[in-house]
């Protein structure tokens, strides 16, 4: 899979970063300034089958929180803090730097150790060591990037998480799972019929999705750990779609039409015991649980146009959430439950919006024509969504403050229906 990343980091941010380069690194937990960082090649890194620092550096740059400094012209790569020429890196305006070493062990595995340094203070912020087989270079690089990200921003990094999406190439549909940077993609489901509405289980072990392999939408759950056949969990008369997991992973909300119009049902994760929780007779679809599991946001046209509503997860009276415009759909809650992302039709264009649920303030995040299917990173920092460029489906990501954007595309194929996986253990 080819990746095309387009960065829109403003030069203003560059200057802001330079101006504070001599300051001590502060863990701000959410500042907009980019931290200037130098990721030096690790001593002995050429022993690895692929560069690990290149991946670390790309991860950090792509997050929008760091400005990666040019590290060329170094005569000797420092492996230890005693070998670092701090004066040189201060003059290069680095706030932080990463050094390390890599070596092949007698058993064929590799050992990678690295140190994260505070350049103005000339001190170590943290360090770690990994022993890994050749196949885990990328995974280890993402772990190192997550370590650095968390130490310097105070927030958990998402470089080690997974994303899932659907690739349509001709009449072939593939549900793929990839690293958060779009690399290392693995097909999980392949079909000659459409696949849509991917939803990760909260523990990251299962994927709910909708397949048309039986000539109509049917809801499946696929285990990602074992090579089991996907199991249909809802294949009632009519259409079965729009799966959403409860935060404890025990239940699914989904849309069934077995009793008439598209209504929301709750069922056990294996599809048993479905019980209806909306009774509008209008369209009720796209359920999404709040992180505490107490409420469900959903799309309904009960008021005459598709709008977003919220209701108790056990059923009950819905409250309308969106009021501006005549087409507001696809509600997704941020992991902290404070922000609602959704798609709004504005002058015929479909754009990604965010609403601060406390202040009800709304912000347009994108300027596309056909933006759809938003999904929050588990950190809440970025929103991945589907859009199109030159009539071809691509994925794009935008920081939840709208400042930073990038794209993921697959050559000669449509990419769509992204779903960002959860934080995994360790």
């Amino acid at each position: 899979m080819k990746r095309t990343a387009t960065f829109f980091a403003a030069s203003v941010v560059f200057l802001a970063g330079a101006a504070r380069a001599q300051l001590t690194i502060e863990i701000t937990g959410g500042g907009a300034n980019q931290i200037p960082i130098a990721v030096l090649p690790f001593a002995g890194e050429s022993a690895l089958p692929q560069s690990i620092t290149e991946i670390v550096e790309q991860d950090l740059s792509r997050s929008g929180r760091f400005r990666s400094l040019f590290v060329g012209g170094i005569t000797q790569v420092p492996a230890e803090i005693s070998q670092v020429d701090f004066a040189e890196w201060r003059s290069r305006l680095a706030d932080a730097m990463v050094i390390g070493q890599a070596q092949r062990l007698p058993d064929g595995k590799f050992e990678v150790r690295f140190r994260l340094l505070d350049v103005p203070k000339q001190s170590q912020i943290g360090s770690s060591v990994y022993t890994l087989p050749a196949g885990q270079i990328r995974l280890t690089a993402h772990k190192i990037a997550d370590f650095i990200y968390e130490k310097l921003t105070g927030e958990r990094g998402v470089f080690g998480t997974k994303i899932a999406y659907v690739v349509k190439q001709g009449s072939r549909f593939e549900l793929r799972v990839a690293d958060a940077d779009g690399q290392n993609a693995q097909p999980m489901v392949i079909s000659s019929e459409p696949i849509m509405s991917l939803a990760w289980s909260p523990d990251g072990t299962r994927m709910a999705y909708v397949s048309f392999q039986n000539k109509k939408p049917i809801l499946f759950v696929q285990s990602l750990s074992a090579s089991k056949q996907p199991a249909p969990v809802a294949s009632y008369r009519g259409s079965n779609s729009a799966p959403a997991w409860s935060p404890d992973g025990k239940e699914l909300a989904a849309v069934l039409t077995k009793d008439g119009s598209s209504q929301i049902y709750l069922m056990n994760a294996d599809g048993t015991n479905p019980r209806r929780i909306t009774f509008s007779g209008f369209i009720d679809t796209e359920p999404f649980f709040t992180p505490d599991g107490r409420f469900i946001y959903f799309t309904s046209d009960r008021g005459g146009s598709p709008q977003i509503y919220r209701m108790p997860a056990t059923g009950g009276e819905p409250v309308r959430v969106t009021f501006e415009g005549d087409y507001n759909v696809s509600p997704r809650l941020s992991p902290d439950g404070k922000t609602l992302a959704y798609i709004s039709r504005i002058s015929g264009r479909f754009q990604l919006m965010v609403m601060d649920l406390e202040s009800k303030q709304v912000q347009i995040l994108t300027d596309g024509q056909r933006d759809e299917s938003p999904t929050f990173a588990p950190s809440g920092r970025m929103i991945l969504y589907a859009t199109d460029v030159d009539n071809r489906g691509v994925l794009a990501a935008v920081s939840s403050d709208g400042r930073f954007k990038q794209r993921l595309s697959v050559q000669a194929a449509d990419v769509r229906e992204p779903s960002w996986g959860p934080f995994l253990g360790n």
Binding site: G170, S171, S192, E193, P194, M196, S197, V210, F212, K215, K216, P217, R237, G238, S239, S241, A242, V255, T257, G260, S261, S262, I283, D284, T285, E286, T299, P306, Y327, V329, S330, I343, R345, F350, R370, E372, S373, N391, E417
Partner: protein, 166 residues
């Protein structure tokens, strides 16, 4: 002209090979109907396949964001409802479709409402509810793949398929 187009489309559906304009170099997407395996209806003099019979017409077209059935489709739906009433063992699948604009899941629901509307009309005209299953294909199986109203109007559609045709 429209009549001829409808007939052609209906025939194409019958033979499990919906004609669809595709861009050069793009493989055609699978048709909504699978190859005909066992048809429960007689081939000889089959009214469902006779281009001069209204029963060969199978599609209802809609306005953007709408699911109400225009008056021009009533005679066709009446004929199908009557046929289903006279052939109680015959099943039908109604597939609702949408153009590509908007949420994929909302379009599943909108396509379902279109299909349910066709089903309701067929039941009014004599079919039983158990004979007809209404399903939605949303925007997932476009007959026409260009991004303009010419294509969108073809994709906002309800299709009726008899048992053996899907």
């Amino acid at each position: 002209m429209k009549k001829a187009l409808l007939t052609a489309l209906a025939l194409a559906l019958l033979y499990g090979c919906a004609s669809q304009p595709v861009e050069p170099g793009v493989a055609p997407t699978p048709s909504p109907a699978s190859p005909v395996t066992a048809s429960p209806v007689q081939l000889q003099g089959n009214p469902l396949k006779d281009p001069n019979n209204v029963l060969s017409k199978r599609s209802v077209f809609y306005d953007y964001d709408k699911s109400d059935i225009k008056d021009e489709y009533r005679p066709m739906l009446q004929a199908h409802g009557k046929y289903l009433a006279e052939h109680r063992g015959t099943k039908m699948l109604v597939q609702g479709n949408c153009d590509e604009r908007g949420s994929r899941e909302y379009n599943i629901a909108l396509g379902q409402r279109r299909a349910e509307g066709v089903k309701r009309m067929l039941v009014l005209m004599g079919a039983t509810g158990s004979q007809v299953e209404a399903v939605s294909l949303g925007e997932e199986k476009p007959r026409c793949t260009e991004h303009n109203e010419g294509c969108w109007s073809q994709n906002r559609r309800g299709d009726m398929l008899y048992g053996g045709e899907y």
